[in-house]
């Protein structure tokens, strides 16, 4: 009276809902842990989950229990030296050691003070970016769109063999067979009945010609019945796939950084973290994100990631050189009709005296109309200079797609990032 069932193929993660409920309930605690982790972690380290601890008392499920005190007797195993009447000091000082053992003291968590568990990478990033929103996450309009995506669209009568829908084809064939054989079967049945009737007649009354006729008829009908094909080209049905235009889901992110002598490695580290957060964030919102690294001192150059962050150069600073290069790259490779364009710029605020005006000009005239968003972070503990002031005027003009903040130390990155991308109250 036993049977085996192989359940291995069944759904896993039956507890996913409960797990989510738990995470929701302790959102506050977890967020705090995540924020600490973001600030503590090394820059390249966003790709894994995080261990989170919550004080056990905050998540306990209280029940009526006995507290310490009173008089209790405990049975314990493994007596070695005690004899009846022995008296000794209470171990640990508190009321009665670890109690009577079976009293349910350790039904979970092995009596830990901290309830610790791991978030997956996805959950971790969810918490990191919770409540944030990409400004102008408008899908590029469908009109001038070259991107398409194959979509299932019912069935057709013709197509390639790979797309045959077997179930539907067989169903069609079955229906056709029923339809085609029905009349033949009926005729056959009638002929057989007639033949039988004829043969049961008195031998004297039989009509041999008629019998032969009927036999021929039956043979003919049987042949026709057999001739009905099991499956016919007409029965075949194919899954239809059409190409549907798709809103653009590509984004390109320009990382622009000042590498002049005034930017120290610490500054670059801070900038890198900022870029990294932005990249992760974009990655969650777009299917494909490309990165373009532009570094500049007096002249700008497009470089790969390694060089961007680690090689050193010195010299003066002309910010507009970088903006011009970004403009050119957009022109050449990233038509705004197909790409969502984001620029993140990090600098210490130094710029060549007259250049800041050029920057503003370049931004308002050429860049800003094409960009989804421009984020500028100034990494400096000092007072702002001309660049900041000019940028402020750009911000005034493009308040919804231009943002700037100041970062003083590493700990500011995450809060500043959050501030920049805080979900805005619904506005159209």
């Amino acid at each position: 009276m036993s049977y085996f069932i192989d359940r291995r193929a069944n759904a896993k993660h039956k507890s996913a809902v409960n797990r989510q409920r738990f995470l929701d309930r302790y959102r506050g605690h977890i967020k705090r842990s995540v924020e600490e982790a973001v600030n503590r972690r090394s820059i390249t380290d966003m790709e894994r989950g995080e261990k989170v601890s919550i004080p056990s008392r905050d998540i306990s499920e209280p029940v009526f229990q006995h507290g310490p005190g009173g008089r209790r007797s405990i049975i314990a195993p493994g007596n070695r030296e005690f004899v009846e009447g022995d008296r000794f000091k209470r171990p640990g000082g508190s009321g009665g050691g670890d109690g009577s053992g079976e009293g349910g003291a350790s039904n979970q968590g092995e009596g830990m003070d901290e309830f610790a568990f791991s978030l997956t990478r996805e959950e971790f990033l969810d918490f990191v970016f919770e409540g944030l929103e990409l400004p102008h996450l408008e899908r590029k309009p469908l009109v001038d769109l070259e991107e398409t995506r194959p979509v299932r669209a019912g069935l057709t009568r013709d197509g390639v063999p790979a797309r045959i829908n077997i179930v539907r084809s067989m169903r069609e064939a079955h229906a056709r067979r029923i339809a085609m054989r029905g009349p033949i079967r009926r005729a056959l049945r009638e002929a057989q009945q007639a033949l039988e009737a004829e043969e049961h007649k008195d031998p004297a009354l039989r009509n041999p010609v008629r019998i032969q006729e009927l036999k021929d008829e039956i043979a003919r009908l049987e042949k026709r019945l057999e001739a009905v094909p099991f499956i016919d080209t007409n029965d075949l049905r194919y899954n239809n796939v059409i190409q549907q235009p798709q809103p653009s889901s590509k984004a390109v992110m320009f990382c622009v950084m000042d590498v002049s002598g005034s930017m120290t490695q610490a500054h670059k580290d801070i900038a890198k973290r900022f870029f990294l957060l932005l990249y992760l964030f974009l990655e969650r919102n777009y299917e494909r994100v490309e990165l373009v690294f532009v570094r500049h001192h007096t002249a700008a150059r497009e470089v790969d990631e390694e060089e961007f962050f680690y090689s050193r150069e010195t010299g003066g600073t002309i910010v507009s050189s970088a903006l011009t290069l970004v403009d050119e790259i957009i022109e050449a490779r990233y038509p705004p009709s197909q790409w969502n364009l984001y620029v993140a710029q990090a600098s210490d605020g130094d710029n060549w005296d007259d250049d800041s005006l050029t920057c503003r000009d370049l931004l308002t005239r050429s860049l800003m109309p094409r960009l989804q968003y421009f984020a500028y972070v100034e990494i400096t503990p000092h007072a702002h200079q001309a660049l900041w002031e000019e940028y402020e005027r750009v911000e005034a003009e493009y308040a919804d797609r231009f943002a700037m903040r100041q970062i003083i130390e590493a700990g500011d990155i995450y809060p500043v990032f959050r501030e920049l991308f805080q979900r805005r109250a619904a506005s159209s």
Binding site: R19, G69, I74, A105, F115
Partner: protein, 517 residues
């Protein structure tokens, strides 16, 4: 020398091999007259085992964050290698569902089948507590009903509202059982059929109870035909409830003034599930001891019959030994008395007493010595719970083997005192103390509903009867807060020792306390 024809060797298993082993175990179990439900053996993966584990062994459970917490705890412990996942999980249902993990070795699968599918299974079917309190045939249906009902409530009333209600109910679930009444068995069909009816009926009943609330005309309450409408005599000036009630959840379900019908239904669901788990809480030692005894016996028979090879039996013995290990009280591994070890020791010793009794056994167990061991063990399994089982069957020999001793910890005494050890004078005392250590009434505080002030401020008063001056833990406040949520009016609790009130708690906290904080 026996000619061995092992069914399979090595550590890999296949369904055919398992089926063959299962058939052999079934044959042996039949020989030993183990009466079981049919077995439904499910092969699952590690993740699925963790899922099953997190829902405290219910094959389907309603959604609640506490199960998520459980899951995370299990997952974390497993990942860190702190805990081998239990390699078996068995559910008291008919058919009896047992889970085997696919990662187990062949030996483990055979062991689990012997342990769960024949040991636990026959215990579920035979033990009187399970027969009285649970209905194995309908539990899965009831769980499905509960899950659907709670999901519906979440849809209608919001997840948060349901969650808070469940939190409150869970806090009281250990006090959701009538210990002295036989409950009606739970059946899903019945539940669904009656549920609608109950909703309206319940509310009507509660309305009657709370009739004196302002808004009713006094003429109506004082009318002479009141007795007809008030068969309980609630308004005759007597106290309500007339007798103290130990089933807090039941009392709330029937009497809480402000709960909506669906909330009463949820309270009921938690109460019914608490009832389902009630026997398990009281038969831990027996249940595990019984299953362990049988897997030990059956595995050895398989070996004796030449159906398994030496490798497998050695692997088994290694595993078995670690299961029934009892670290001494001063060992770092000590974590209370191991129910597997204690239960296994008692059952094994019972068999020994029946088969080859010593003079001591004849003195202590005159009826058992030389009786048929199978019948004696069956009798012990059928008719006891941990408390009475230990009281009845803990033999001096087991006490000596485990070197049990009794320590008295009295907060009025600076020193602890050893009052009994494993000697002539101590056996009886140790036995009694250990039995009471497993008595639910001693393990959990005795708390009952004393009075509901149905005329005045509608406050609810509970009474905690102290056992040997043991006070309540600090968790009393959060629990009272939950209780307050359910009741809707102030909740008070009195701790009583020797008819004298020694402690008072109340929620919400009194005003002056608020100011002090």
């Amino acid at each position: 020398m026996l000619d061995r024809k092992p069914i399979a060797t090595g550590s890999d298993w296949s369904f055919e091999v398992l089926a063959e082993f299962e058939a052999e175990i079934a044959r042996l179990a039949d020989e030993y007259r183990l009466d079981t439900y049919p077995n439904q053996i499910e092969i699952i993966t590690t993740e699925q085992m963790m899922d099953a584990y997190a829902s405290v062994g219910m094959p389907v459970g309603y959604h609640h964050w506490s199960f998520g917490k459980q899951f995370l705890a299990v997952e974390q412990a497993y990942r860190r290698g702190q805990m081998g996942l239990a390699y078996e999980l068995v559910i008291n249902s008919n058919p009896c569902i047992a889970y085997l993990m696919e990662e187990n070795t062949l030996m483990m699968q055979v062991l689990v089948m012997a342990h769960a599918c024949y040991g636990h299974n026959s215990f579920f079917k035979g033990n009187y507590l399970f027969q009285t309190w649970t209905d194995a045939g309908s539990i899965v249906d009831y769980l499905l009903f509960a899950r659907r009902y709670i999901a519906e409530c979440e849809e209608r009333h919001g997840v948060t509202a349901v969650e808070q209600l469940l939190d409150a109910c869970h806090a009281l679930q250990n006090h959701g059982v009538d210990r002295y009444k036989r409950p009606s068995p739970i059946s899903a069909e019945e539940e669904i059929r009656r549920q609608k009816e109950r909703e309206s009926h319940l509310q009507a009943q509660v309305n009657t109870l709370w009739r004196t609330i302002p808004g009713r005309s006094p003429a109506e309450t004082d009318s002479p035909d009141m007795d007809e409408e008030d068969p309980l005599g609630l308004h005759a000036g007597a106290r309500y409830p007339p007798e103290p009630q130990e089933n807090l959840l039941y009392f709330i379900e029937k009497n809480a003034p402000l709960l909506a019908p669906w909330q009463r239904e949820v309270v009921r669901i938690v109460r019914k599930l608490a009832q389902y788990f009630y026997p398990q809480r009281q038969t831990q030692v027996m249940n595990e001891g019984w299953a362990t005894f049988w897997h030990y016996t059956l595995m050895n028979r398989l070996y004796d019959d030449g159906l398994v090879d030496e490798g497998l039996i050695l692997e088994f013995l290694q595993s078995h030994t670690s299961v029934v290990q009892q670290p001494a009280f001063d060992s770092p591994a000590y974590n209370g008395i191991n129910p597997y070890a204690l239960g296994f020791a008692i059952f094994s010793d019972l068999r020994r007493i029946c088969e080859s009794p010593t003079d001591e056994d004849r003195l202590w167990f005159p009826d058992l010595a030389d009786s048929d061991w199978r019948e004696t063990l069956q009798f012990a399994m059928h008719n006891f719970k941990d408390e009475s089982f230990i009281q009845q069957f803990l033999s001096p020999r087991v006490i000596r083997e485990l070197k049990l001793f009794k320590v008295v910890d009295d907060d009025q005494d600076e020193m602890l005192e050893v009052t009994a050890i494993h000697d002539e004078r101590g056996y009886q005392r140790i036995r009694e103390a250990l039995a009471s250590q497993y008595a639910l009434a001693v393990r959990e505080p005795n708390i009952q509903v004393q009075a509901a002030d149905i005329r005045g401020d509608r406050s609810l008063t509970l009474r905690h009867i102290q056992d040997n001056r043991r006070p309540l833990a600090r968790s009393v406040y959060p629990v009272m807060r939950h209780l307050h949520q359910l009741w809707g009016f102030p909740v008070k609790l009195e701790s009583v020792q020797d008819n004298e009130i020694v402690g008072r708690y109340q929620w919400p906290l009194p005003e002056d306390d608020d100011a002090a904080q």
